[in-house]
Structures are given as C-alpha cells and as structure tokens.
C-alpha cells in the first residue's frame, strides 16, 4: 500500500529530527547555551505536535476510508454493506445445506421401502426356486412360480428404475458443496481483507500512542468468555488441541477414566 511507505518515511524523519535535536540540545547545554537549549526544547515540542497532528489526520482519513470500504455508512446501512453481504451469504449456506440434507433424506426414505420390497420378494421366490432345483416342486406349483418370477421381474425393473432415479437425485443434491463453497470462499476473502485493513488502522493508532505516550491496559483485550457450559460448536483441528477430545475413542477414554 502506498500510504504505508509514506508513513514509514515520516516516522523515520520524525525520529531522526528528534535524535538530531536531542544531540544538539546536549551540545548546547555543554556549551552553557541555555537560551538556545530552551529554544530547542520548544522546537522538539513543535516537531512532536506537528507529527501528532499529521498522524491523527492520517488515522482519521484511514478510518473514513475503511468505513467507506466496509460500506457501513449510515445512508446505505442495511443494504449492501460487506457485513450484510457476509450475513446473507452465511444464511444462504445454512439454507442450502439444510435443503440438500432434507432432499437426500427424502430420497433415502423413499428408497428404503423399495429396496426392502425387492429383497422380500426375492427371498420369497428363492424359497420355491430352491424347491424346484431340488425337484420338490409339482407342475401346478411350478406354473405358479413362473408367473411369480415374471411379476417379480416386472417389479424389479420398475423398482430399480425408481432406485436409480433416487440415487441420481441424491447425487445432484450434492451440488450445494460447490455453491456454498463459492460463497464461503468469498466471505473468507472478505474477512481477510477486513482484517488487514483493521491491522493497518491499529498500526496507525500505534504511532499516535507512541507519540503521546498512551499505554493501553492489556487486560481489556483479553476478556474471553470461556465458560465451558456455553456451547461453542464443533472444534476445528481438534487433533491439534490438547483440551479437546478429537474423536469418540478419546471421549470414551475420558469418560472411563471418570469411572463411566
């Protein structure tokens, strides 16, 4: 970023001017030039003030830019801000995944009785077929069996077509992965972008702090709600975390160590 380079340059020169003036101050005091030294202290004050104003100005501009980029401006709030877009995107992901899951379960629910009926009918016919192979079947029963086999073949054709179509629908329902993946990638890019802009703002605010000698309480930033009774949802990279059970075996081990 161009503004970053300018900043570094002014910071250097600010520190350089400070150092030069300080050296001069010492040499004037050594030469008993008190009036000159006082003048120099005033100069130092001015350099600091000027730089401070510049930094605050730059920070204000950057904040303004960021707000514009976030599109959080009050005029267009609720319509098209990046945060709104992320919010909508994530809602879309929730809806798409729910739809796909329901579609898949609908298809499975519809397919289960079909495959079950094929299995029952086949088992039924197999019994008589075995009797026929063992030459235990009379002529009348055999005629009955051939009719049943013929019906079974018709059923099987219809039923397997149904199963094929359900399996295809299940396959198609997986298209959510592509669509939600794209939305999530866009949001990830946006979050990274917002983060880098915030880091820039923090760096600029850091210069102001440096010049004014403001120190922030560290504790403020570290208030984390770690009440374990509040659910936190799935753990990402559970294997890498010591305080997390990475799988059911881990959970079972932990519970059995507690006497379960």
């Amino acid at each position: 970023m161009a503004s970053q380079e300018v900043e570094t340059a002014t910071e250097d020169s600010f520190e350089k001017i400070f150092g030069d003036k300080a050296k001069e101050l010492v040499s004037r005091l050594e030469n008993n030039d008190v009036a000159g030294a006082v003048g120099l202290i005033e100069d130092l004050q001015k350099v600091r003030d000027q730089n401070l104003y510049q930094e605050i100005g730059r920070l204000t501009r950057a904040l303004h830019e960021s707000i514009k980029n976030f599109k959080l401006d009050s005029n267009i709030q609720g319509a098209g801000s990046e945060i709104d877009e992320a919010h909508e995107g994530l809602n879309y992901v929730v809806n798409m995944t729910a739809k796909a899951a329901n579609k898949t379960m609908d298809m499975v629910d519809a397919a289960l009785p079909v495959s079950k009926s094929i299995s029952i009918e086949a088992a039924d016919i197999k019994q008589d077929w075995n009797r026929f192979l063992n030459k235990e079947l009379g002529a009348a029963d055999f005629r009955d069996l051939t009719k049943r086999i013929s019906v079974f073949l018709d059923h099987t054709e219809v039923n397997t077509n149904k199963l094929n179509s359900n399996l295809n629908e299940i396959l198609l329902a997986q298209d959510f992965q592509d669509l939600t993946g794209q939305v999530i990638q866009r949001i990830t890019t946006m979050v990274t972008d917002v983060e880098s802009r915030l880091v820039n703002l923090v760096a600029m605010a850091g210069h102001v702090d440096q010049m004014t000698g403001i120190k922030h309480k560290q504790a403020d930033a570290e208030i984390i709600d770690d009440n374990p009774l509040k659910g936190v949802g799935p753990q990402i990279n559970a294997e890498d975390k010591e305080d997390v059970a990475s799988d059911q075996v881990d959970v079972d081990d932990l519970l059995s160590s507690l006497g379960f």
Binding site: A98, M105, P228, G231, V232, G233, P234, A245, D247
Partner: protein
C-alpha cells in the same frame, strides 16, 4: 430393552433431529418425539412420561447441559437416562456433562454403530 420406549430427541437443527430419528427407527425405536431446545423439551419431559432423552448441547434458549441439570433436579425425572449427542468436544465440557449426570456422550459427527453401542450400553446399565 423395550423397543416401544418413548424417546425425546432435542436438537435445534431439524436435519440432525431427522437423522437421529431415522437411526433410532433403524434400531427399532419408533416412538420418538422432537423438541428444538431445552425450553420446549423440559415441559414435554415433565408432562410426557418419556423413557429416554437424546439431546444436543449447543442450542439457543436452553442448552442441553442446562436441560440435563433441570432433569436431574426434578424429582420425577432424575433417573431418566440421558444421551448427549453433540459437537462439543472440550475435555472440560465432557467432564462437566459427566458430573451433571449424563448417561452417555456421543460426539458429532457420529456413526449409526456408535449411537447403537451407546444406547445399548446405557440400557444394559439401567436394566441390569
């Protein structure tokens, strides 16, 4: 184990409720009802002679761990077997659930076999 026992499935996601109900049906349990969080589940439990509770942890309103605590504090419900089926996997949480009196703990994503095993284990202990 009585296959006709009355089971309450509590999860804020309808797809997860459906998956659990389908798995239970596969295991032969068809007498199931649903609730979407602890606030809806608790009065159902208090008024509905349920035999088994399967609950998620992270839910709006009342969480599963709070529901578990309410169940254990209720004179009529305190012996109800409770299976936690949740994505919560922190050791502190599992210990907290055990201390609150959970009968089984399954972490998501889970398999039909794990669910079956945990349910059987719970009722072995309850019946035995």
């Amino acid at each position: 184990m009585d296959k006709n026992m009355k089971i309450l499935v509590v999860d804020d996601f309808s797809t997860m409720r459906r998956i659990i109900k389908n798995l239970l049906r596969d295991l032969g349990f068809t007498n199931t009802q649903e609730a979407d969080d602890g606030v809806t589940a608790l009065p159902m439990l208090q008024n509905g002679d349920f035999d088994f509770l399967v609950t998620d942890w992270n839910m709006p309103g009342m969480t599963g761990i709070e529901l578990l605590k309410h169940v254990r504090e209720d004179e009529r419900l305190k012996t109800l077997p409770v299976l936690m089926v949740t994505a919560e996997a922190k050791r502190d949480q599992i210990v907290a659930a055990a201390q609150a009196g959970v009968n089984g703990y399954v972490i998501k994503p889970f398999t039909a076999a794990v669910l079956k095993e945990k349910i059987e284990k719970i009722f072995e202990r309850v019946d035995g």
